[in-house]
Structures are given as structure tokens and as C-alpha cells.
């Protein structure tokens, strides 16, 4: 029974983290049809920015938890939005209209470049900003403990998920984005400044990636290469759920999270396969993912 509880709790905690990581990726893909490999770098940038800002704050003798959270939010949002703007305006803009796979490779090149840029800026020594995580404390369920920081991440994930859903489904801007997704040319003819919408979307997607990194920073030791590890995970979640769908990303994250927790608690040996096995199984039965729309056929 304890194991069942543990699987549920761990599964949902991991799922909320996965959703945070995958949300930006799916938003950018949904609107712009770019599978952004550099999303991992934005995650890493957010983590580095938050970790170094937190390090500075605690070195000043700071000890306020809410200020620490504000620092995480501000640093991640700033670095995400600014680097999103630079990548979109400085590079992707020159490449629009190219093949989907070519765009993917271009963002792969961005990933390579950013990996080294981060190394030049932050060095290779791990950054360790543990204070907020430790300060949040924990509670017990029998022998099991749950970190309240993890619950906070879960709450943030729900808020971001609902926010994105509201933005895309209920606001005028969301409806404009959906018309871009469906028919870019007509939207343009109706006066939609598609390029500006792309810039905004990319900045929002990039910021979501950086926020995911920022809130993860206090849990992990921030080292070069963390972005590369995250990106395939995010891909797997997004593809399982259906590319470009927020609901899909959420459901995909929950499925992957629960499957992984089950495997770790009962058959730890299978952990490495489980994500890919879930993805392959879903694709076998639903070739476009759980909530994916069939791509228009070429006629």
C-alpha cells in the first residue's frame, strides 16, 4: 500500500516537472512548427541564471524564502525572454519557410553553440543553490517523506498548464495563434503580423524552458550538459502526448511520470527503457500521439 502511495506521489511530482520542461517545447512546435532542440539549452540557461543569482543572494546573507522565489522567477524569465528574442530575431527569422527537419537541425546548432557559451560564462564548476529546497521542509507519510518544494513545483506546473490553456483557448491572442496554426497566409491577409506573433510565441516558449530550469536549480547541482539530458525527455513526452497540444503534453507527462515511478519502485532495472517503451507503444497505436492531429497529407 505504501508503495502504491509512493508511486502516485512520485509519479505526479515527476510528471509536473516533465510538463514544465515540455510545455514550452510544445507551444513553440504547435504555433511555429519548429521542434526546438535548443529548448534544453534554455532550460540550462534558466538553471544557471537562477543558481548564480541565488548564490549571490545567499552570499549577501539573505535568508527570505519569498525573495529567493522572486529571484528564481525574475532571473529565469529575464534570461528566457532575452535569449528567446535573440535566437528568434537573430537566427530563426532568417530561416523561416525551410523544411521542418532543417529547422530542427538549425536549433541543434544553436544547442551546440549555447553549450559552449554557457561554459564560457559560468565555467564548469557545478553551481549548487540548495537553500530554497532545504528551507521548504518536508512532511511524512509513514516512512515516506515528501518535499514541500516538490509540491510547489507541482502547483506551479498546474498554474502554468491552466494559464497556457486559457491563453490559447480563451483569449483573442490565442485564437489568433490558432488561426496562424491553421492557415498562416490567410491570417496574414487578415492583418495578423505573423512574425511578431512568432517572436512572442518563441519568447514565451523559451521563457517556459528557462522557468523549468530555474525551479529545478535548487534541487540539482547545475553543471554543463544538463540541457542535453533534458531535451530527449521533453521530446518523448511531447511526442507521446501529441505534438503541439498542451493537453497532450500534460497527459503525456502524467503517463510517463507514472510509468517511470512504477518501474523504479517495482523493477528499477527497466527505468532506462520505460520512457521510450511508452513512446513507442503509444505511437504504434496512435501514430500521431495521444492528442496529435493527423498532419495534412500532401496532395
Amino acid at each position: 500500500m505504501l508503495t502504491v502511495w509512493a508511486i502516485l506521489i512520485d509519479g505526479f511530482i515527476y510528471a509536473s516537472w516533465l510538463f514544465l520542461v515540455a510545455a514550452g517545447l510544445t507551444v513553440i512546435y504547435g504555433v511555429m512548427r519548429i521542434l526546438n532542440m535548443a529548448h534544453g539549452s534554455l532550460y540550462a540557461l534558466g538553471a544557471y541564471a537562477a543558481a548564480s543569482a541565488l548564490g549571490w543572494y545567499y552570499a549577501q546573507g539573505g535568508d527570505q524564502l519569498w525573495i529567493a522565489f522572486a529571484i528564481i522567477a525574475v532571473s529565469a524569465i529575464l534570461i528566457g525572454a532575452i535569449s528567446g528574442l535573440i535566437i528568434e530575431r537573430g537566427l530563426l527569422r532568417l530561416m523561416y519557410g525551410r523544411d521542418e527537419i532543417l529547422m530542427l537541425i538549425i536549433t541543434f546548432a544553436v544547442l551546440l553553440i549555447l553549450e559552449d557559451v554557457m561554459k564560457l560564462v559560468w565555467g564548469t564548476t557545478p553551481y549548487f543553490a540548495w537553500q530554497p529546497y532545504a528551507a521548504m521542509g518536508r512532511f511524512n507519510i509513514d516512512v515516506l517523506t515528501v518535499s514541500q518544494y516538490d509540491l510547489l513545483v507541482m502547483a506551479l506546473s498546474v498554474v502554468i498548464g491552466l494559464g497556457l490553456w486559457f491563453w490559447l483557448e480563451r483569449t483573442n491572442m490565442g485564437k489568433i495563434l490558432r488561426s496562424i496554426i491553421h492557415d498562416r497566409e490567410v491570417s496574414e491577409a487578415m492583418g495578423v503580423n505573423v512574425r511578431r506573433m512568432f517572436t512572442i510565441t518563441f519568447m514565451i516558449g523559451a521563457t517556459l524552458g528557462a522557468i523549468a530550469g530555474g525551479v529545478t536549480a535548487p534541487i540539482i547541482s547545475v553543471v554543463p550538459g544538463i540541457g542535453v539530458e533534458v531535451i530527449v525527455l521533453a521530446f518523448a513526452v511531447v511526442v507521446t502526448g501529441g505534438l503541439g497540444s498542451i493537453t497532450g503534453a500534460a497527459v503525456g507527462a502524467v503517463i510517463v511520470g507514472l510509468a517511470r515511478a512504477t518501474s523504479i519502485h517495482t523493477m528499477p532495472e527497466l527505468e532506462l527503457f520505460i520512457i521510450y517503451a511508452v513512446m513507442a507503444t503509444v505511437l504504434v497505436f496512435r501514430p500521431h500521439g495521444l492528442f496529435g492531429l493527423a498532419a495534412a497529407r500532401k496532395i
Binding site: 527537419i101 546548432a109 521530446f235 532506462l272 501514430p287
Partner: protein, 313 residues
């Protein structure tokens, strides 16, 4: 059988490399061997690209080819390089024939991600295989070639010669294949799948044959890498390696059977010199070079070599 111009020049270039290799420093011979092996895998990626599919899991077949060489030598006692390469092709073909039944149903990003998933599952299995050295991998046995045992210092050159011969044979075959009805049908599918069906060709069958062939070619690349480097490990199936193959395929372009070879050589040289000149920033150099090529040569490096293209633009 009359040889056409492309075939003659392919043979000529292969002979020229074989002669030049006798006077080249050993490291260059080795790098060349690796580049040719890589190019063979990239060739598989290009074959799929010609049919409009992009594989982010070609490392699966590269790894199968490599492990067939490693395991064949270790557990079956096979030492002849050609037999080992053949073993890899057989194993890979069988696997590809099974996976192909499923894979040919997928297009675009879903094909890419599903191929990635299968390659990562192989990676997971190998990492879990403690007896095979897990991630450390294991060494390839000393090999022979048709009864000849390369002595000290000869192994590198022998590997290059073998790679050259195999690559030439494959290039000549593919050059014809691209112009055959299946090869042309692949391109037609990329342009317009539905119309191909109207023409009475089963696109599934065409894609299936193309998929299996691409896998077999990739396996030869993996086997040659294993023979040359003398070591195999699960990294060969990791997604970043597959990503590298796509990267090189795009560098070269799909225009010509020689493009992957040129792209692989340039990629390898850029990388090795970047690693030497800027050990802390070689990834950045690689990324920038890639972006510049995509920006200025959208059809790949090969477009530099086609005069027609220059006139048209």
C-alpha cells in the same frame, strides 16, 4: 555494362585516395577511414531523406553493425573482416525487415521520433548488458582479411583499403539505385505520396525496400568503424550520434551519391581541428560552421560542385 561518367569518376577518386593513402600520415588514413564509415551510415540517412523521411535513429543500424563485428569475433571466433561485415549486414537486415513493417507507416517527425525510440531501446539493452561491458564496451579482436593478417602498422591502411572498396561498391550500386524505378519512386513519394499510389505503385513496398537497404548500408558503416577503431560501445546507438548523421546528411545534401562522403570528411576535419585549436569551444565552432552552410548553401555542400545550380541561381 557501360560505365557512365559518375561511375568512372567515383572509381577514379577511389583509386586516387588509395594511392595517396600510401604517402599520407597514419592519422589521416585513420581519419579518412572513419569518415568513409560515417559517410556510409549518412548514405542510409540520405536514402531515407530522398523518400522524404528523416531518421533520428540510424545509430541503431550503425551500432548493430559494430556489435556484430565485436561479438562475432569474440563469441563466434570469426576473424575475417569481410565475414564480420557480412554478419552485420545479415543481422541488420533481419532487424530492419521486422521494424520496417511498422516504420513505413510513419512520416515526418513521427518517423524521426519512433526511429529514435528504437535506437534508444537498443542503447538501453546494451547498457544493461553487464557481460558486454555495459557502457564501457569491449575491444574488437584482431582481424584478418581473406587469409591475410595485417601486421603492425598495416592495420590502419588495410582498414582504409577495405572501407574504400566497400564504399565504392556501395556508391556504384546506389548511383544506379537512385536512377532505378524504386529510387525514382522514392523521390516521387517525397514530392507527392498520393499521386504515386494513383500510378499503381505501392508506396509502402517502395519505402520498405528503401528502409531495409538504408539499414544494411548503415550497418557496413558501423562494422567498418568497429574494425578501424578496434572498440565498440553502446554510444553508437545513442541519439546524439544519430543526430550527427542527420547533421552530416544535411551538410552534404541529397543531390549526389558522393555528397555524404565529402560532407563526412569535411565534418570530421572541422571537428578534429576545432578540438585542437579551441578545446573549450569546439562545439561552438561546429555549430557556427553548420549554420553558415545552411544559410549560404541551402542545398548542401554538394551544390558547390554542380554547375547547373550556379547558372540557375
Amino acid at each position: 555494362m557501360k560505365l557512365e561518367r559518375t561511375e568512372l569518376s567515383l572509381i577514379g577518386v577511389a583509386i586516387a585516395i588509395a594511392i595517396l593513402a600510401q604517402f599520407s600520415p597514419n592519422w589521416l588514413v585513420f581519419t579518412l577511414t572513419l569518415a568513409i564509415s560515417t559517410a556510409l551510415v549518412v548514405m542510409g540517412v540520405v536514402m531515407l531523406m530522398r523518400a522524404g523521411l528523416v531518421s533520428f535513429g540510424q545509430g541503431l543500424f550503425y551500432c548493430l553493425g559494430g556489435y556484430a563485428v565485436g561479438l562475432g569475433g569474440r563469441f563466434l571466433g570469426i576473424t575475417d573482416a569481410l565475414v564480420l561485415v557480412g554478419l552485420g549486414v545479415v543481422v541488420t537486415t533481419v532487424v530492419a525487415m521486422i521494424l520496417g513493417l511498422l516504420m513505413t507507416r510513419y512520416r515526418e517527425i513521427f518517423f524521426a521520433m519512433l526511429s529514435l525510440a528504437f535506437s534508444m531501446i537498443l542503447y538501453g539493452i546494451l547498457v544493461k548488458s553487464h557481460g558486454l561491458g555495459s557502457t564501457d564496451g569491449f575491444g574488437v579482436v584482431d582481424w584478418t582479411l581473406l587469409g591475410f593478417t595485417p601486421g603492425d602498422g598495416q592495420a590502419t591502411t588495410t582498414a582504409l583499403m577495405l572501407a574504400l572498396v566497400l564504399a565504392l561498391a556501395i556508391a556504384l550500386f546506389l548511383n544506379r539505385y537512385f536512377k532505378s524505378s524504386i529510387g525514382l519512386a522514392c523521390e516521387a513519394i517525397r514530392e507527392n505520396e498520393v499521386r504515386v499510389e494513383y500510378m499503381g505503385i505501392s508506396h509502402r513496398k517502395v519505402l520498405y525496400i528503401n528502409y531495409v537497404l538504408a539499414a544494411a548500408v548503415g550497418s557496413v558503416g558501423g562494422s567498418m568503424t568497429a574494425l578501424a577503431a578496434g572498440h565498440v560501445d553502446p554510444t553508437m546507438a545513442y541519439w546524439t550520434i544519430s543526430g550527427e548523421f542527420v547533421f552530416i546528411a544535411i551538410l552534404g545534401g541529397t543531390g549526389h551519391v558522393a555528397a555524404p562522403f565529402i560532407a563526412a570528411l569535411i565534418f570530421t576535419l572541422v571537428r578534429t581541428y576545432a578540438v585542437e585549436l579551441a578545446p573549450n569551444a569546439w562545439q561552438m565552432i561546429l555549430g557556427i560552421v553548420l549554420l553558415l552552410i545552411i544559410l549560404f548553401l541551402p542545398k548542401g555542400i554538394w551544390s558547390l560542385f554542380t554547375r547547373k545550380k550556379g547558372a540557375a541561381s
